[in-house]
């Protein structure tokens, strides 16, 4: 069974998306959660570039990828700023320990 590059890229996108999802679920660190989100956004970009081969002569996917990258940069900047703020306030970057809204004391 032979796989061409388009299919292989689609499989890589699905794989990286699941990896990012599992990173978000299993890690106990806010920065690792941001890394997982970046990985999932890149998996979406891989899907876009692979599906663009189904429609030759159209380049909509490349423009959409550029805008996804812009939004990802905004998300990373605001996310890191919020992580730093939370770290200064709680002195921890473990999301399980930030439970002020859950516990009443």
């Amino acid at each position: 069974m032979s796989i061409n590059t388009t299919e292989a890229t689609l499989y890589l996108g699905a794989f990286l998306f699941c990896i990012g999802f599992m990173i978000i679920l299993t890690r106990r660190n806010l920065i690792m959660i941001l890394i997982g989100i970046e990985l999932m956004l890149n998996a979406a970009n891989l899907n876009l570039i692979a599906f663009n081969t189904l429609k030759p002569g159209s380049f909509d996917a490349q423009f959409l990828m550029l805008f996804i990258i812009v939004v990802a940069v905004c998300e990373a900047a605001v996310g890191i700023a919020l992580v730093l703020r939370v770290y200064h306030f709680y002195q921890t970057s473990v999301p399980d320990e930030i439970t002020d809204l859950k516990e009443r004391n």
């Binding site: 590059t5 388009t6 299919e7 292989a8 890229t9 689609l10 499989y11 890589l12 699905a14 998306f17 699941c18 990896i19 990012g20 999802f21 599992m22 990173i23 679920l25 299993t26 890690r27 106990r28 660190n29 806010l30 920065i31 690792m32 941001l34 890394i35 970046e38 990985l39 890149n42 970009n45 891989l46 570039i49 663009n52 081969t53 030759p56 002569g57 380049f59 423009f63 990828m65 550029l66 805008f67 990258i69 812009v70 939004v71 990802a72 940069v73 905004c74 998300e75 990373a76 900047a77 605001v78 890191i80 700023a81 730093l84 703020r85 770290y87 200064h88 921890t92 970057s93 399980d96």
Partner: protein
């Protein structure tokens, strides 16, 4: 051929992000993963997006993430303590992967697209996609100002 090598490198570095104990090592693996994804973009004739990927992701976002790690790191990033949590997330991830693989199996693969030159891309960006371009610029400005305001302590300054 080199595309397959890049795909394998990206997959391996993705797994190593998941398995690395240290956050800093995970960030370094993320750099390798993003660079190989940029190489895959080149093999799909999307050179401009690949350059943007290297400049913005491997340059900018990773710099932000590494600064974030250095400013917050005190406890090393261990995995979630409860094993039920770990098993559940592994099962959910594998189920998601099965769904994706099943869906991809139904797709008819096609040939490569013709290449898009950077000047044609720039012309389209400033004519057809002008509104989106301006909205993206405004979003970038607003979110960066917001990030600066959120990260600075206004009472002390």
């Amino acid at each position: 051929m080199i595309t397959y090598v890049l795909i394998v490198v990206a997959a391996i570095s993705g797994v190593s992000i998941l398995l690395m104990k240290d956050v800093f090592h995970a960030a370094l693996s993320l750099i390798i993963c993003l660079l190989s994804i940029a190489g895959i973009f080149v093999s799909f004739n999307a050179e401009f997006v690949a350059v943007v990927q290297i400049l913005v992701y491997a340059g900018g976002v990773l710099l932000l993430i590494i600064f974030g790690i250095m400013l917050t790191r005190r406890d090393s990033a261990t995995f979630s303590s409860s094993s039920v949590h770990l098993y559940t997330s592994a099962i959910i991830g594998l189920l998601l992967l099965c769904v994706f693989v099943y869906a991809i199996g139904n797709i008819e693969p096609a040939e490569y697209p013709s290449t898009l030159s950077p000047e044609a891309l720039g012309r389209d960006l400033l004519t057809t996609y002008l509104v989106e371009f301006e909205v993206a610029g405004a979003l970038l400005l607003i979110s960066l100002i917001g990030a600066i305001v959120a990260a600075t302590n206004l009472k002390k300054a």
